[in-house]
Symmetry: C2
Subunit: 257 residues, 2 copies
DNA sequence: CCCTATTTTTAGATCAGTCTAATAAATTTG
DNA sequence: CAAATTTATTAGACTGATCTAAAAATAGGG
């Protein structure tokens, strides 16, 4: 009964990347307009117009000309699947093959389209079902459920104590820099002051005694959790069951999608 | 000096597969004719004619119309590189992710084009620089050197004692069957008789007491090493330093390519 | 050496994904 | 609100990889 209701419907890696970008834009509560999608994928606007029409035709998204795209249930499902693969692969590269957190993204961007479901389930088990990737981003589970991300953008934060939750930027240079100054997931830091007029933030990471001055723009890709205020560099994290960047706040209130 | 003599010259995964097939055919001492290449890749002859002309133009092979292709130094180098990737990946899937030897080929066929050089060198080290893949085939080293394969095809062998060196067939069904009857690399066996008129071979693998009757055709993909004749199922292997299917006869007389 | 069968190449098309340049719609602004 | 600016679509073209059908070359058998 209901035999072919779930067709395999395999798509190209190009399509997978389009879906992932639309998901990312939607997650940022923005409109997935032609030009925004084009910028993320580094292709011409005209190319995107075309592709969005095709994706609408195969039911992976809605598309209103002069407005943009919205994922359908099926499109979102596929996008989340790729996101899961991407992040699991990043974690695998980091933990098993010793890649730096600034190296994983590029490789995962290709492998996410090439590995089989078996590969994914094997590395998932090997890593003991990780909940975050090396950048602190949540890994959707095998059913496509995503942890609610209730963190705060550093650019919006008031002076005080925080721990780094995730870094949403894949530029290797930038990540290497953050690593150097001691900013990575689970690092505690105190935000000491924010200069006015789009000025930089003065941070004190718990490691490295030197204060770090971070541009406002850069701070937009760092997300933090407020720490019950205590003298900086002392309070323990909520839990954090393991090694590495795994902050491990378990899926309290994990919601669909 | 001689700065750009080694251009990166990246090719598509399609081209990589063409080169690999031509290499395989040349290794079998056959002529890489249009139709033979087409059969290996499961594409139309016309497609191959076209591609061979393109590959000649970019200097990866020689192509004589109505004759076929011959790899150039550069083409062979690329082909061997992919072969190395393929076999290392197979070994990785088998040893680290627990794939069966009948499952590795298909996955490696895709991943060989997708992983980076870093990935390859990391798994190479993780596996402690393996010399054979799960089917017993030699893994070219990082410089592209290939071990000389001085084994004997079972279809050509006289009755006597042997050990399985490699199985050159990637059909999952067939490999699963061999596994079931206890035929895998490093298995010792006695070839008891060969029925005349293209008849089957009667084999006694050291494991499993039952004799195995193997079609002549099937026996063509099994390669063996003669054992200094001794009562079957007793003689130790030349060495065999490790677990699994790693027969480990080290590169005595490793030759170029 | 001719005729037939096989192999290979040529010709012409298709499909996915991309581009640039031209046009059109939507939005912002004086 | 009309003009200017920005955003998006349309039109036309290209590349890589593939196919089918027709034509041509080669190889074998008498
Ligand atoms: Mn990708
Ligand atoms: Mn990540
Ligand atoms: Mn391949
Ligand atoms: Mn193999």
């Amino acid at each position: 009964m209901a035999a072919d209701s779930q067709k395999k419907a395999t798509v190209s890696s190009t399509v997978e990347d389009y879906l992932k970008v639309v998901l990312k834009i939607e997650d940022m509560k923005q409109r997935a307009s032609t030009s925004r999608v084009a910028r993320h994928l580094d292709v011409a606007d005209a190319t995107v117009t075309d592709m969005l029409r095709k994706l609408k035709k195969v039911g992976l998204l809605e598309y209103k000309p002069y407005y943009g795209a919205t994922l359908t249930r099926k499109g979102r499902q596929m996008a989340v699947r790729i996101l899961r693969r991407h992040r699991l692969l990043e974690m695998f590269l980091h933990q098993v093959l010793g890649y730096g957190w600034e190296q994983v993204h590029q490789e995962a961007e290709r492998l996410e389209h090439a590995v089989s479901d078996l590969f994914i389930s094997r590395i998932d088990a090997l890593l003991d079902f990780p909940a975050q990737d090396p950048h602190g981003e949540a890994i959707p589970d095998a059913r496509g459920f995503r942890q609610v991300e209730d963190d705060l953008c550093l650019s919006e934060a008031e002076p005080g104590s925080y721990s780094v939750r995730k870094v949403t930027n894949s530029d290797p240079e930038f990540l290497a820099y953050l690593d150097k100054v001691g900013l990575r997931p689970a690092t505690r830091l105190s935000l000491q002051e924010k200069a006015p007029f789009q000025g930089p933030l003065k941070l004190l990471p718990e490691s490295g005694r030197e204060p770090v001055y971070l541009g406002l723009e850069a701070s937009r890709s760092i997300f933090v959790l407020p720490l019950k205020d205590r003298p900086p560099a002392s309070a323990p994290l909520p839990e954090g069951r393991a090694s590495q960047g795994s902050v491990g706040r378990p899926g309290r209130g994990a919601g669909k999608e």
